[in-house]
């Protein structure tokens, strides 16, 4: 199949793999919150009810909402002879959940009855605006720094390396707290929390953008610097490894320009780093979400935090699903990028066509 177009074939195979992974993620997203206890019970325990009938009614509505009971075509709960709702089997629960997700229905929030999809859509742009550029630039900056440290060694390396090592061992959120404390509270250079000043409505006015930009700096720095530190460490090791390879020695023997040798080094050391990015993007996003919480940044992190505090299961599940989806998409993109950039992978694609 598609032997003539190995790249297309590869992209197709990878998409299928990621789609299957997505289904597994969906199943996990559905079953894991039910692992230790019944979410409906937990939510029921939070409210107070004037009569047992109302309590029962609320509980049944919740179970219906969660797809835990069998529902007929009109949307009414199917009951057995005793009038109790018929429980749906695990498999049909899952199928129901998946079909709802593909229709874009993520349930409704228990707090304000808003559709979860809507709540998430309000938060998503903030998270993407914060995390995408931060991870991208942090990765590039860290790698350039790491490659230079590997190539130059000496004083540059002696300063950069321990610093980067220290930076990479500070958890995202700890560094975020430090920045908030010093720059936001003690010196008051930047606003400590929030995505924009209170009293401004989010639109594309100059005033809003200015305020948002101002609020962007601290969360950006707290993720960017830590991430760059970690990448620099990895790139330095890769770079030193590549420096000892035959092709770098040969390039030097041929008298190639120093800048050219450096690009050889960077290009080759970057590819495993790109694989590393694909592997660690989930961790980065997790760390960055907690940073959002520290800064009360109006993104998915804060949405999740609020939902956790109120046991708002539909919102928690909605957010985790979206995070997983974003991470899978990012992974897929990096996978394809590696195949396009690395002739070795490309060549193996053509050879694999059995």
């Amino acid at each position: 199949m598609l032997k003539k177009y190995p790249t297309v074939r590869y992209v197709l195979l990878r998409s299928i793999w990621y789609f299957l992974t997505f289904l597994v993620a969906l199943a996990l997203n559905f079953f894991l919150p039910r692992l230790g206890s019944d979410p409906v019970e937990i939510m029921m325990a939070q409210g107070s009810y004037s009569s047992p009938e109302i309590r029962k009614q609320t509980e049944e509505n919740l179970r219906k909402e969660f797809g835990l009971v069998v529902v007929d075509k009109e949307g009414n709960i199917v009951r057995d002879e005793n009038g109790n709702a018929v429980k749906a089997s695990k498999a049909s629960q899952l199928v129901n959940y998946i079909s709802q997700v593909f229709r874009g229905n993520l349930g409704t929030s228990f707090e304000n009855q808003k559709p979860v999809a809507e709540i998430i859509m309000e938060a998503l742009p903030w998270t993407i605006a914060l995390q995408l550029p931060t991870i991208l630039f942090g990765w590039i900056f860290g790698n350039v720094l790491g490659a230079l440290a590997a190539y130059r060694r000496g004083v540059f390396d002696k300063v950069i390396f321990p610093l980067a090592l220290l930076m990479s061992s500070i958890p995202f959120f700890v560094f975020g707290m430090v920045l908030v404390y010093f720059f936001g509270v003690v010196w008051d250079f930047f606003p400590a929390i929030g995505g924009y000043a209170s009293g401004i409505t989010p639109d594309f006015s100059w005033e809003f953008l200015k305020s948002a930009g101002y609020h962007y700096i601290l969360p950006f720095l707290s993720i960017f610097l830590i991430l760059a530190g970690g990448q620099a460490i990895g790139m330095r090791s890769m770079g030193i490894y590549e420096l000892g390879t035959d092709y770098i020695k040969y390039a030097k023997w041929l008298g190639l320009k120093e800048t050219r040798v450096l690009t050889y080094l960077f290009r080759n050391a970057m590819l495993p780093q790109l694989t590393g990015l694909a592997l660690s993007i989930g961790q980065m996003v997790g760390g960055a979400l907690i940073t959002e919480m520290i800064f009360s940044y109006p993104g998915l992190g804060l949405t999740m935090l609020k939902a956790v505090q109120t046991n708002n299961y539909p919102v928690i599940q909605g957010v985790t699903l979206l995070i997983t989806t974003c991470v899978l998409l990012a992974n897929f993109t990096v996978d394809i990028l590696i195949a396009l950039l690395d002739p070795r992978v490309k060549a193996s694609l053509t050879m694999d066509t059995k």
Partner: protein, 326 residues
């Protein structure tokens, strides 16, 4: 005829972190004429690789020249800045075909681009036209009797071992260097490919694409078919230097003899003798050694060998570093 390469009493040392000098190469001298192939043989760690760096004028710490001179076409490579060496010597005067060409090519770059990098690195600040460069490459690679287009447009991984080796030779000789140093250029290849590569080297020499070649190997028998002259290296010194016939068929230095004895060959006389091994290891070069460096391992060593420094002397029309060789 003018000498292409003159090496005069070249000594090189490494400086360790603790200020200790390791004399890796001591008093190596030889000259090479147009069209000559010199074979250099010895065990690993005998100073071959260090000598290579010295012959290219590449003194990257911790390697330093101790004394002596290297002249290419009468021009010295000593006391020149790394930048000067890089711009004016490497690839143009002295070029290198590295060991294990399998990994010598940048895996993420096409052959034509690696070759173009060499041209770009030595064209000064002139702006070079990519199409012209490619045309020049095509012309050169056509000489090698390979599928030029396929090779030039491939990444190293898409080529066979032989194709890669020949690409490396093509790239190393691109700027018609005076001296080409080949470090075990055929060791990782099968016999058929070895032959093709050797033939290619002779072709290029005949076509005057390069002028002289230094062929470094630990396989003495191979040199028999390739080299005009052979230098045997031990512990940083030449212990025997002469024509191939003299050194291979009539070795005089005990070390050369031991080396020949340790080799397996397809000769008919091989059946009649068992391969021997050379007991012991070469001496440490960290301190100045009194007496003959091979004395500890020499089967015919005499007590005075350990005290008396041995110098090269003419024995049977070639140079031998042993007072008792006949």
């Amino acid at each position: 005829m003018a000498q292409i390469l003159e090496v005069k009493d070249l000594s090189l040392h490494y400086l360790t972190r603790f200020g200790q000098k390791i004399h890796a190469v001591t008093d190596v001298s030889f000259t090479m004429k147009q069209g000559e192939i010199l074979g250099v043989a010895g065990e690993s760690g005998c100073g071959k690789s260090t000598l290579v760096n010295g012959l290219m004028g590449l003194f990257i710490p911790p390697l330093y020249p101790t004394s002596g001179d290297v002249l290419v076409n009468g021009e010295s490579l000593m006391n020149r800045s790394p930048k000067d060496i890089r711009e004016n010597v490497l690839s143009q005067k002295v070029s290198m075909i590295p060991q294990g060409a399998f990994n010598a090519l940048n895996p993420t770059r096409k052959i034509k681009d690696i070759a173009a990098d060499v041209i770009a690195a030595h064209s000064g600040n002139k702006n070079i036209n990519k199409q012209q460069v490619y045309a020049r490459l095509r012309e050169r690679f056509d000489l090698f009797g390979m599928e030029t287009e396929h090779i030039l447009n491939s990444y190293p991984i898409q080529l066979t071992a032989g194709e890669r080796q020949r690409s490396v030779i093509g790239i190393s000789t691109l700027l018609n260097p005076k001296v080409v140093i080949a470090d075990e250029p055929t060791s990782a290849l099968d016999v058929t490919t070895q032959k093709i590569v050797i033939k290619m080297i002779f072709d290029l020499l005949e076509k005057n694409i390069f002028s002289t070649m230094i062929f470094i190997t630990h396989e003495l028998p191979l040199l028999r078919h390739v080299a005009h002259n052979i230098g045997i290296m031990y512990a940083g010194e030449f212990v025997e230097y002469g024509t191939t016939i003299q050194v291979v068929h009539d070795p005089r230095h005990p070390y050369t003899r031991a080396l020949m004895g340790a080799m397996l060959s397809a000769d008919s006389e091989q059946k009649n003798r068992k391969p021997t091994t050379i007991e012991g290891a070469p001496p440490s070069l960290a301190k100045k050694i009194e007496g003959c460096r091979f004395a500890e391992r020499c089967p015919s060593a005499r007590p005075e060998c350990r005290q008396k420094t041995q110098n090269l002397r003419t024995v049977g029309e070639r140079l031998v570093r042993c007072d008792y060789a006949e």
